[in-house]
Subunit: 163 residues, 2 copies
DNA sequence: TATTGTTATACTCTATAACTATA
DNA sequence: TATAGTTATAGAGTATAACAATA
């Protein structure tokens, strides 16, 4: 393991006294770890997303479903699951809930009678359009500290991590 | 909202038929959104972290606590909470669990009798050292698709998102 | 036999309220 | 009055198993 933090444990000798409450915490290797930083970044973005989507009475995963169904009329659950990294049992409830609210519609799939094809209702289309504008503003605000070039780089690198 | 996806809804006319099951899903703006990509990246890393830390019978948040306590002997819970973005009630159980396993030790804080100062036991020190090696290998594997330069850039940009 | 979708269920993580002891 | 820590509890999010209907 050549790069980062070269095992500098006990750089200062371990004094047997408590930390002063105002001393900065040495997060050590944690600060340079993708796991730690990805979690904190996601928490930060997630909190903002949740807050903004609540204006439309939508949870973040619900918005994701609406956005995907809107762009892919006739899409089926298994495709949503793959795209959203969600398990079928956890998606089922969301779809039913969105259907009950009159935002999406389920029809039998013409080629595969096991599946249900999904599409937005007129009301769902309207709400999704509004929520997508919210999402665009959210994006702008969440990444306010980054230049346009940095934003593109970040998205690109995050995609590489997933693959 | 000047940059990304300039409202290209219905670029193709909405055909009233179901999606063929093998057609690629158009994730639209989702694919360029930090929220979507940060979640997927974090899920990917999180799954790997959980798997690797299980070898030491540790959960990821438990490793974070051990690592911080190891580098900051005498640290108190509120400092851990701030560093780890965790609420006090959710940290309490973890600390008690780690104490029961004989990995950390709680002593009354010399200057503040409300607080408990934390430190690793000899056994905790040994396990933490092993887990930190695991974490370093994990880092290497999770970011295998990125160059060293890209890794540094990614961490740097993630930090900017949080602030 | 494999896949789609559903129900039931459990486990983890996260969030809020209420309490104590101390600063 | 504010803070450190704890308990209890509620709510999301995520996970597995089992099942029916269809491919």
């Amino acid at each position: 393991m050549p790069p980062h933090t070269p095992s500098r444990r006990h750089a200062a000798p371990p004094v047997d006294s408590a930390e002063p409450a105002d001393a900065p915490v040495d997060a050590g290797a944690l600060y340079t770890q993708i796991s730690y930083n990805a979690r904190r970044a996601w928490l930060s973005i997630s909190a903002l997303s949740t807050q903004r989507m609540a204006v439309h009475k939508l949870k973040v995963p619900e918005f994701s479903v609406l956005s995907l169904v809107g762009r892919n009329p006739g899409i089926i659950s298994s495709q949503l699951c793959a795209t959203l990294d969600t398990l079928p049992p956890n998606l089922a409830g969301r779809i039913i809930s969105l259907e009950r609210r009159g935002l999406i519609e389920r029809r039998p799939h013409p080629q595969d009678r096991r599946a249900m094809s999904l599409r937005l209702t007129p009301e769902g289309t309207k709400l999704t359009a509004q929520a997508e504008e919210t999402a665009a503003r959210l994006e702008e605000d969440a990444l306010a500290g980054l230049t346009l070039s940095e934003r593109k780089t970040l998205i690109c690198l995050l995609k590489k991590v997933c693959s």
